[in-house]
């Protein structure tokens, strides 16, 4: 019994350490500059200063940044889901000679540091006239992503061969098998990939840093970093902006946990 109390106590301590930065971010974002200077780390703000959020939104082209981010996220989610599902199907469920080699190449590219490919990719994107365009970030996702291909391939492999054989006997082509059989059966896995890609693009900082230089095209992640240099001393606004940027990701994280499980349970 004492052992259990010991580990529970330890668990609470650990959780406090991990959660504290987030708690003080939210509470700090709701404090007036005066309170923040006087007592930065009390958990409950004296009177929630929601105006910090209004002010943070007002001091940058927030809606412009947000719509840029959403365009990028939408494009990348479509690109990744379509391309990775196709490639994963080709690697997992089409019996052809090159697939083993190709799969090995997929895994190897996951281990390559970006340092080597960054400069040539930049040159390529510039030569294609995509510099300073959303396509610089979206287009590559239509060529697949090693990790998501890996994930989907593993999932596709769990579909029993007898289903595909039945489909073939019913006259389905490879495309038919893919579209009418494998894709409908893999909705949870595809949703996972779409979700991961959404969060990845939402958070992406180095892509926009490299490829976008028109402030009209900045997404939120990059806008937030610029915000630091111009409002670095206004901690209450910085925290509000950071919290605002984080909120959707946390909401998706919590919503997805349940939605996904329920989505499967109701099938």
């Amino acid at each position: 019994m004492t052992k259990r109390w010991g580990s529970t106590l330890l668990l609470w301590f650990v959780c406090l350490v991990f959660a504290m930065p987030l708690i003080v971010m939210v509470s700090g974002s709701l404090k007036t500059p005066e309170q923040l200077a006087r007592d930065p780390y009390s958990v409950v703000p004296e009177s929630p200063a929601w105006s910090n959020y209004v002010q943070a939104i007002g001091s940058m082209p927030f809606w412009r940044y947000l719509s840029n981010t959403l365009i990028l996220c939408g494009g990348c989610v479509i690109g990744t889901t379509v391309s990775c599902a196709m490639v994963a199907f080709g690697l997992a469920r089409v019996p052809w000679a090159g697939r083993k080699l190709l799969f090995a190449l997929v895994t190897v590219t996951m281990l390559l540091p970006w340092h080597i490919t960054m400069i040539p990719r930049f040159v390529l994107i510039s030569h294609l006239g995509l510099y300073n365009s959303f396509w610089a970030i979206i287009a590559p996702t239509f060529l697949g992503d090693a990790f998501f291909i890996f994930l989907l391939r593993q999932f596709f492999l769990t579909i029993p061969q007898s289903y595909l054989d039945a489909g073939r006997i019913d006259g389905l082509s490879h495309w038919g098998l893919f579209w009418h059989l494998v894709v409908p059966m893999s909705r949870p896995a595809l949703a996972t990939v779409a979700l991961f890609q959404f969060i990845q693009t939402w958070n992406d900082f180095s892509g926009p840093l490299l490829y976008l230089n028109d402030p009209q095209k900045f997404p939120l992640a990059y806008g937030l970093e610029r915000f630091v240099s111009s409002y670095g001393d206004q901690t209450h606004l910085l925290l509000a902006a950071a919290a605002l940027f984080t909120l959707p990701v946390i909401m998706i994280f919590f919503a997805a946990q349940r939605a996904f499980v329920e989505g499967i349970a109701t099938k």
């Binding site: 580990s7 039945a166 409908p184 970093e225 946990q257």
Partner: protein, 378 residues
Amino acid sequence: MKDELELELPLGLKTRDQVISIRETIPGGAISSKAIHDPASHTNVQATTLPNPIENSSLKSSGSDHRSDTVAGWLFCSPWIVGFLLLFAWPFVASLYWSFCRFDLVNPPQWVGLANYYRIGAEVGTGKGYGLALWNTLYYSLLSVPLSVVMGVGLAVLLSAKVPGQKFYRTIVFLPSVIPVVAASVLWLWLLDPESGMINYALSWVGIPAQNWLVQARSVAEPETMSVIGTGKLLGSKDAIVLMSLWSVGNFVVIYLAAISNIPASLHEAAQLDGAGVMRRLIHVTIPMLSPVIFFNLVMGLIRSVQTFASIYVLSEGTGEPGGSLSLISIHLFLSAFADLQMGYASAMAWILFVILLVVTALLFRTSRHWVHYRVAG
């Protein structure tokens, strides 16, 4: 050949564990085991009407089928084949070629032989430029990767204890890993403030003097620290980014948790019957059984730590300052390429880093024979 075989195992572990971690532990909670093992629960195809499962081979016996398979295979994989050629194969060759050139993006690359490599060699000698960046990267990786393994395993063991609210605890520990890097960095910029930061405030509770964190170039495990040990200002900028990286250790914890849940209970029971206590079971059962995953996370953690960019960029406001102490290779390379337009020098840097990574990974694989225990299949 043997190396290749071993290479497959940890890689295989990745996906399996990632998938397991997605469906069994917290993030996403995405794929239920039902969906994997019982696809009949959501499909219209009546597989049961087939009298016997038809042999796989019977369907691809004729030549035309074989050809159509090959065509379909190429077509389905074509996005990635194009992607591989454009985004990996060509860049690989191009950056190797440019590493022997002077190249400023505007004018065509101009062959300069080994000049970039000589320059890097000289910088390693003087501890400036690439030499400094190499040291900074080494410092960061050598500290953050082992600490993330120790913390990751420790937390996973703690979080696998069957106590009420287990799911809640796991969620809290994982949560920092989903915070966008830029937001987390903005937050830590504030937490690490030497005067009003919460970290120093928390340290003062346990009697540790305030640290300078991001404004101090000298970090605790650097030789110069010995001479100023009396001042108490030991922790510097690189220690700060190590600390911040440990905040998102949840990524690794999830993988360890999945692996722990795969350890057969019989092993623990047997050890318990032999009179082994909690600690002995941890050391003689849990950790050896986790060793393939620990090894995998060591390799991935190393590769990942070397690639850390966005957080350090934000924390040093895009400069690698103070005193070049946050000029890790990724930052130094980015600034050399896109601020100084020295693409040749930057490409040479990238290749040297790549070779170092290859060697270190190969060495890790070498040593793994002595401490990684792979279960015999079946």
